[in-house]
């Protein structure tokens, strides 16, 4: 097991290197195509001379490689890697360091993901279990149809509808009935408040969780169906073990494998969804910062955060693989 973890971590680091290289190559190409290396970082806004100089220095944009289309610009790449290694991920247009911004923003994203995770678990487990237990009956088909519908709605649309159609009247009603500072008023506030991070995150988290829960419902249903009547469960029962023992050590234990895999797959989608959610609901999290940076054309921040998120994704994938190997001994020995 230890060797598997080592192997996986090394693989992950290699993949991460390739990912950062890929990002670099693509951004280099974009800059070269754009024609205006340093200017490309500012979009339509005219940069101040100091900002321009900072970007040029940071990305070594005076390097002639940026004028040649197709040159991979490995020199600046190595420089950038060195910068990342020392924790320098760039600066925003206003001069604030990306790592600093992330430090403030990341906790909010984590809180959001916590709410999302709980939503997935709750909805996935309850609806999935019901669907499994009432297999074939109308409630099962209804739940599956519901999950199709949930899957269909892009989170973007869901948020738009909530923000413009529901939240304004709901928060008004809550304020009038319960007072401005009460929990219901905060819950339905259409934007984030740093003073009440958890309360204003709950509804966006639930909405985002809703959008991704379809996969969990299907998964839990399939895993439970497979396991409840599985041969090994029956064999365990034949040994006279208590129902509780069988459920814990055989049903739940085996069902957790596909759940772990699913988390890994859904994570990247959830990340994208989080960016949209935080952006639309004005949440000061990693996604929200990214959203704002794109709107402001603050490209240094965009590059910095996307790179950081790539690192996080690779780390999550490694963890998921390790957890999966811990749960399922069959894959450890390849």
């Amino acid at each position: 097991m230890g060797r598997y973890v080592m192997r996986r971590v090394l693989q992950g680091v290699f993949t991460l290197f390739l990912v950062i290289l890929l990002l670099h190559l693509l951004t280099t190409l974009a800059i070269q195509l754009n024609g205006n290396p340093a200017q490309a970082f500012f979009g339509d806004r005219p940069p101040s001379p100091s900002q321009l100089a900072a970007v040029e220095k940071r990305y070594a944009l005076d390097d002639p490689c940026y004028d040649q289309l197709g040159n991979p610009c490995l020199g600046p790449f190595v420089d950038r890697l060195a910068a990342y290694a020392s924790g320098d991920f760039g600066e925003s247009l206003r001069g604030r360091e990306v790592t600093d911004i992330v430090g403030t923003a990341a906790p909010n994203t984590l809180r959001l993901f916590a709410v999302v995770g709980v939503t997935w678990m709750l909805i996935g487990m309850t609806l999935g279990s019901i669907a499994a237990r009432r297999r074939g009956k109308p409630s099962d088909q209804g739940i599956r149809g519901l999950s199709v519908l949930i899957d269909a709605l892009p989170i973007f649309v869901l948020l738009l509808v909530y923000k413009y159609v529901f939240s304004v009247p709901l928060s008004k009603w809550a304020k009038e009935t319960f007072g401005s500072d009460s929990l219901p008023a905060l819950l339905f506030k259409p934007s984030f408040s740093a003073d009440h991070p958890w309360a204003t995150l709950i509804v966006p988290g639930i909405l985002l969780g809703l959008a991704g829960s379809a996969a969990f419902i299907r998964l839990v249903r399939a895993a439970q169906l497979e396991n409840y009547n599985a041969d090994h469960v029956r064999a365990a029962r034949s040994k006279g073990l208590s129902e509780r023992h069988v459920t814990v050590h055989h049903v739940v234990r085996n069902s957790s494998i596909p759940v772990a895999t699913a988390v890994g797959i859904i994570f990247t989608e959830a990340l994208a969804g989080a960016v949209i959610t935080e952006g639309m609901m004005n949440i000061y999290g990693m996604g929200g910062v990214l959203w704002r940076a794109v709107q402001d054309s603050d490209v240094s921040v965009v590059i910095g955060i996307v790179t950081l998120l790539a690192v996080v994704t690779v780390a999550v994938m490694i963890v998921v693989d390790v957890v999966y190997a811990a749960l399922d001994p069959r894959i450890r020995y390849d």
């Binding site: 993949t15 990247t268 990340l271």
Partner: protein
């Protein structure tokens, strides 16, 4: 005991293993019966027609706007502007009709190109294995780490100032390239898995023994099995791209003004929502919702019908 080569010949003749016509017609028949599928197909086809033949639905040019006619509420049937006008005085119906084109065109181009790339790479990787597979699989992994949206955000931000002109194709080429670049991996994986499953089956070995070339084996024997899975994924993918276009437009990095797309309409419409002109948001949002839902319903049912493994 019959000669093995004879039975291989027979297998070839009878399309052994290739999903023969009854497989597809079975699937089609199941789908035909479900009311949700029929409804969804009608909606999808409707919007396709709107995109392909816009002049059937409106005679106005969405770009010819008279600022004096700004923000007229919908006049419904009989009026000059059945769905009203927007801030700049452009006819909303015309915008909706012409706006469907970039959205749908982008979706079809991206999905089409992704499928092509994905199927090719997946088949090559699964069939030849070895170094080809190693490179392809590693590439898939690397690309998978970066979520589609994030890559789009990054690259399109950099492209913001590039102007390629006004043609329909020109407005969507940038998002098209970026979305395709990060959209092919899923197909590659499915096709590779399917190829691995089928290439060791007896009838493929038999065909190879009979001297069939690699290409022929890939096309006639191995690929048709994978097509089912891939086809099932296409409608849902189309829906996803349509949705993504809206997000990109909202951020200003998708299809860009003065071109019109539903995403742009939604962006503008949301700014004016509280100002009393709710219709500016609701019309494009409704169209988006309807189209996306339609394709997803088709896609889900197609998947159920074509690939029992995914059920």
């Amino acid at each position: 005991m019959t000669d093995p080569s004879v039975s291989a010949l027979m297998a070839e003749e009878t399309e052994g293993g290739v999903p023969n016509r009854s497989f597809w017609s079975d699937a089609f028949r199941t789908l035909r019966r479900r009311p949700s599928v029929i409804g969804a197909t009608v909606v999808a086809v409707f919007f396709l027609v709107v995109a392909l033949f816009p002049w059937l639905f409106t005679d106005k040019d969405p770009q010819r706007c008279d600022i004096a006619d700004s923000r007229i509420p919908p006049q419904w049937l009989g009026g000059e502007h059945p769905f009203g006008t927007n801030v700049h005085g452009c006819d909303v119906l015309a915008e909706l009709v012409y706006g469907s084109r970039p959205s749908l065109l982008l979706a079809f181009i991206v999905v089409g190109a992704s499928v092509l790339i994905g199927v090719t790479l997946g088949t090559l990787a699964g069939y030849y294995l070895g170094i080809v597979d190693a490179i392809v699989s590693r590439t898939v992994e690397v690309f998978l780490v970066i979520p589609l949206l994030l890559a789009a955000l990054l690259l399109l931000s950099l492209f913001r100032t590039v102007d390629l002109g006004d043609g329909l194709l020109a407005t969507i080429i940038q998002p098209a390239i970026v979305l395709t670049l990060f959209g092919w991996m899923g197909y590659t994986r499915y096709v590779r898995a399917s190829v691995l499953e089928t290439k060791n089956l007896d009838y493929v070995t038999a065909a190879r023994v009979l001297g069939a070339s690699d290409l022929r084996i890939m096309f006639r024997h191995v690929l048709p099995n994978a097509i089912g899975t891939v086809t099932a994924l296409v409608p849902t993918a189309i829906a996803a791209v349509i949705g993504t276009e809206a997000v990109l437009a909202f951020l200003g990095i998708g299809v860009r003004p003065p071109a019109v797309s539903w995403g742009i309409m939604i962006t503008e419409g949301s700014e004016w929502f509280t100002g009393g002109s709710q219709y500016l948001l609701l019309f494009p949002l409704g169209c988006l919702l309807a189209t996306v839902l339609a394709f997803v319903v088709i896609g889900d049912n197609l998947r159920d019908a074509l690939d029992p493994k995914l059920r």
